[in-house]
């Protein structure tokens, strides 16, 4: 097969990522742990540096020049994120520490109105961050959690979902792209069905926003969350998108500076959106750098990123499919690698994922081993842990070749002991 975009994308932009150009254990680094966190381009690194060298100052407070500049840059980052996911208003974007905090915000603020017997529908493949907050909410309110299972292809089972939803359902919270299975859930259909029953919809988009175009108005979700660090931005910054009227109806989550309008000793009134949900000094540099990451991704084009990663997906799955000891999880890619995320969770016969990861590390190849924060999914699949290679647009077919060769060596190393 030919990777037509390889010369025009990965090769073109790899020099933007200084960290990729190093040796690990004497071998060129092959970074295939992008679903855990992405690497950061120079544009993002320089943005952080420029902020601290040139205009570090608190936002929304001072009248001095640096504070005004910091505030402008911080709010400009919000505009960038709003445009990136096609939010109808900049007020619909709340900066949070990460996606987990965004979900907790909704669970504590909106969720506190739930009552005993109200139902929340999740899927069995949720990341712990889209599971534990709802478990805690269910414990507080008496709400009941229900779980959508998987199809035979290990994707979101829309028919099972239809059988679970009822007028008791108050919320459907589901992952857009599974960090383990790599399947892409039909979020638009899910949202439409949920709304027919008067339920709200929250989408965990951590694994989709960095890899494909996202349009919250087209999905018609009520909330959508993502983490900056998985989309070329620093750690410590993420965002909550929420429909304006819904965010307006919600009580504050955390109290403190920044989120107030008028404060008296015994009560306070709150700032308008989005600041109502941004108590305390925010992660200013990180938010501005998230804006830079959005600029960077937008300049490449999310359509181009998705198309290139699909080509890598096709190649990765084709190569893995040729190793008899490998069992993959999640749906097979469709034609041209489309229809699933550019990652593969797998087991390798007798070689335990942790051992595999250690051995691959000696070849300079970074993959994840363990339960990937989806322990219930692993239990559902009847496995304790998997290895996972997850790609990004800066990975190349040559890197997949190095990974596959090291994988074969590791299997041979373990297998040869008793042959």
């Amino acid at each position: 097969m030919t990777l037509t975009r390889e010369k025009t994308l990965a090769d073109r932009i790899r020099s933007d990522f200084p960290i990729l150009h190093q040796k690990v254990n004497g071998k060129p680094l092959v970074y295939l742990d992008n679903a855990a966190t992405s690497q950061k381009p120079l544009l993002v690194l320089n943005t952080l540096r420029d902020y601290y060298e040139q205009y570090n100052s608190n936002v929304h407070r001072g009248v001095h020049t640096l504070s005004a500049k910091a505030t402008d840059a911080y709010e400009a980052a919000r505009d960038k994120v709003a445009a990136f996911i096609n939010a109808a208003s900049r007020q619909e974007i709340v900066f949070t520490r990460n996606a987990s905090e965004a979900i907790n915000l909704v669970a504590y603020s909106w969720g506190s109105s739930l009552q005993t017997g109200d139902e929340i529908i999740l899927s069995v493949m949720e990341h712990h961050s889209n599971l534990i907050p709802w478990q805690l909410l269910a414990q507080r309110t008496g709400a009941v959690l229900k779980f959508v299972e998987l199809t035979a292809e290990q994707e979101f089972d829309l028919e099972h979902f239809k059988s679970l939803i009822s007028d008791k359902t108050k919320l459907v919270a589901t992952v857009h792209v599974s960090n383990t299975l790599g399947c892409i859930s039909p979020v638009k259909e899910i949202a439409a069905i949920a709304h027919e029953h008067g339920a709200k919809v929250l989408i965990d988009a951590c694994q989709s926003v960095p890899h494909m175009p996202i349009d919250v108005q087209q999905i018609d979700c009520d909330w959508l969350v993502a983490s900056g660090h998985k989309m070329c931005a620093p750690t410590g910054i993420g965002f909550l998108y929420g429909k304006l009227d819904i965010l307006r109806s919600m009580s504050p989550f955390l109290g403190g500076g920044e989120m107030i309008a008028d404060v008296f000793l015994d009560h306070a009134t709150y700032a308008d959106l989005p600041h109502k949900f941004e108590a305390g000094t925010p992660a200013i540099a990180e938010a501005i750098a998230l804006g830079a990451a959005v600029d960077y991704l937008s300049a490449i084009g999310m359509d181009n990123i998705y198309a290139y990663e699909a080509e890598l997906t096709a190649y990765l799955w084709e190569q893995l499919g040729q190793i008899s000891e490998i069992q993959t999880y999640g749906p097979q890619p469709k034609v041209a690698g489309l229809g699933r995320a550019a990652l593969a969770a797998f087991t390798a016969g007798d070689v335990h994922p942790h051992d595999l990861s250690t051995i691959l590390d000696q070849a300079g190849v970074a993959i994840r081993a363990g339960h990937h924060c989806t322990q219930p999914l692993h239990r559902h699949l009847g496995i304790q842990s998997t290895a996972r290679a997850s790609l990004s647009f800066y990975n190349t077919r040559q890197e997949i070749d190095v990974f596959i060769a090291a994988l074969k060596e590791a299997i041979e190393f373990f297998g040869s002991i008793f042959s």
Binding site: N25, H354, G370, S385, F413
Partner: protein, 163 residues
């Protein structure tokens, strides 16, 4: 096998033949009969689990048998099997000092004397800091089992990552 891809000498230091043999053909899997001590342990971040059962003598001060069940990597499982190998006939106080010595060995600060030298095969793990908790899991669980005051009844997990 080809050696073009990885630094195999490091891998061989870690995964010595003895370790792989204990992983593939453990001698002490199962449950003791009777069970005088029972303890489950886990590494929450990676999902490895182990369940140790111990048979003690009538006085309760000497280990007569150790068995384990669980799921985990080669390092965790081989460590458990090696530990069970050497614990038979050891006094409880002696076993507890072996726990300390093993944990020190993982820091590269100690090793076992001649009569227990088979445990020294795990020394290579100290060069792989992220894997030390794999090797320690079984010893950490043993300590909890020996320090528990009741006979059975330990239904909770002891975590290897709290300390």
């Amino acid at each position: 096998m080809t050696t073009a891809i990885m630094a195999l000498s490091n891998v061989r230091d870690l995964y010595q033949q003895v370790i792989l043999e204990h992983y593939k053909k453990p001698r002490h899997k199962g449950k003791t009969n009777p069970v005088h001590r029972q303890q489950r342990g886990h590494n929450p971040s990676c999902g490895d689990t182990i369940e140790l059962t111990l048979k003690l003598n009538d006085a309760g001060d000497t280990i007569e048998d150790v068995k384990f069940e669980g799921e985990g990597c080669a390092i965790a499982m081989a460590s458990a099997d090696l530990m069970a190998d050497v614990l038979r006939g050891k006094q409880v106080t002696e076993a507890l000092s072996m726990v300390q010595r093993f944990q020190n060995m993982m820091k590269g600060e100690d090793e076992f004397p001649k009569e227990l030298r088979k445990l020294n095969v795990m020394q290579g793990v100290s060069q792989f800091p992220v894997r030390i908790k794999c090797a320690n899991l079984t010893w950490h669980t043993l300590k909890a089992a020996l320090e528990s005051t009741h006979d059975l009844a330990n239904t909770g997990f002891v975590s290897n990552e709290d300390t």
